[in-house]
């Protein structure tokens, strides 16, 4: 949701389907393809994929950009766990604001309410 809000501020439309892997490319975000490949490699288990993904991101964004990207991946890998383990719902205002793309991308299948 904040990705779309960020785009609205700068009159840009980002392709949200890249978030779910339903579309390839950078999604309209500078170095978006490299960022996605990096996130996938960090959360994956194949170090042979991580090494080139890290190198490509560092070449594009520099060491400070790589550090900040790794920090964000690390943080959200944990935030997701807090959300999933405590069973929090989406806030009503966020649910309303994201209803269209949650439907488009079939994201509600990930809802804690949908789990046994």
């Amino acid at each position: 949701m904040l990705l779309r809000a960020s785009g609205s501020t700068h009159n840009k439309t980002y392709q949200l389907a890249t978030v779910t892997g339903a579309a390839e490319g950078d999604g309209g975000v500078p170095s978006g393809d490299l960022l996605i490949a990096f996130a996938e490699a960090v959360l994956g288990e194949d170090d042979r994929a991580l090494t080139p993904a890290r190198a490509a991101l560092m070449a594009a964004l520099g060491p400070p950009g790589l550090v900040d990207a790794a920090a964000v991946v690390g943080l959200f890998n944990a935030i997701d766990r807090v959300a999933d383990a405590t069973g929090i719902p989406l806030e009503p205002e966020k649910a309303a604001a994201s209803a269209d793309f949650r439907a488009d991308l079939d994201l509600d299948r990930f809802s804690v309410a949908a789990r046994d």
Partner: protein, 246 residues
């Protein structure tokens, strides 16, 4: 540079390194429901979970409950604690309320559960960043002596989550400040409010690994070496990979 990162291969921001030092110190201290030794054992078990054969088998099963067995644990914690640590670390998107209720019925209090989740989250945050940078995982801290506080907020009650939480209007001085004063807290902030110290410590990491609260929606300014759009693309992709709607 924080003493945790003496010779990093990349320039880790001073504020970020300092936040990691605080997080590690926090894990080592007596918590609200667990002492320092147990909290550090939970941190160690969080790492151990990544090599657990049972967790790997469950991860690829149609349902995790279809696979019985014992976790490959370090043997320092009760089995029910190990189950929580391993499931939260390795397969969080298939945790359900029935599983949570079972954990509580089988001997954990809600406060103990929330504190375990928090320690796992602290370790996952720092370790995942280290993996991203190709750094060795930081050595875990030495546990500090002392007793847990056993403070349960009086205003905690059942809300929209599985766990009880504290609404801003129900927070008392005994909890200290846990929420921002200029806006309503997001549910992710209320999620661990049954154990206020964990909210404060985890959101210290949020501030430095992601953004301070006021900067999250300040799209007119950039605060990091990557832009808001790049940050949010990463965050969204990670959540999709983790199959987390929130």
């Amino acid at each position: 540079m924080s003493e945790l990162y003496t010779r990093p291969a990349y320039p880790i921001r001073e504020d970020l390194a300092a936040a990691h030092s605080r997080a590690w110190a926090h894990i080592a201290l007596p918590g609200t429901w667990w002492d320092g030794a147990v909290r550090v054992a939970i941190a160690a078990e969080t790492r151990q979970a990544l090599g657990c054969a049972l967790c790997r088998e469950r991860k690829v099963a149609l349902s995790p409950s279809a696979v019985a067995g014992h976790h490959d644990s370090l043997g320092q914690l009760p089995e029910i604690v190990v189950e929580v640590v391993h499931r939260v670390r390795t397969d969080p998107s298939r945790l359900g309320e029935r599983w949570y209720r079972g954990v509580i019925v089988n001997g954990l209090t809600e406060g103990e559960y929330v504190e375990i989740v928090s320690v796992v989250a602290h370790v996952a945050t720092v370790d995942t960043m280290a993996r991203g940078l190709g750094l060795e995982a930081l050595p875990l801290p030495d546990p500090q002596p002392g007793s847990p506080s056993h403070h349960r907020p009086q205003g905690a009650k059942r809300g929209g989550a599985w766990v009880p939480w504290v609404e801003p209007a129900d927070a008392s001085a005994a909890e200290g400040r846990i929420y921002p004063v200029d806006r309503p807290p997001a549910n992710i902030m209320k999620a661990m409010s049954l154990v206020p110290d964990e909210v404060r410590s985890f959101f210290d990491l949020v501030t430095h690994q992601y953004l301070p609260g006021a900067a999250m929606r300040d799209f007119a300014h950039e605060y990091r070496a990557i832009t808001h759009a790049q940050i949010e693309l990463l965050a969204a992709r990670v959540s999709a990979l983790n199959r987390c709607l929130y």
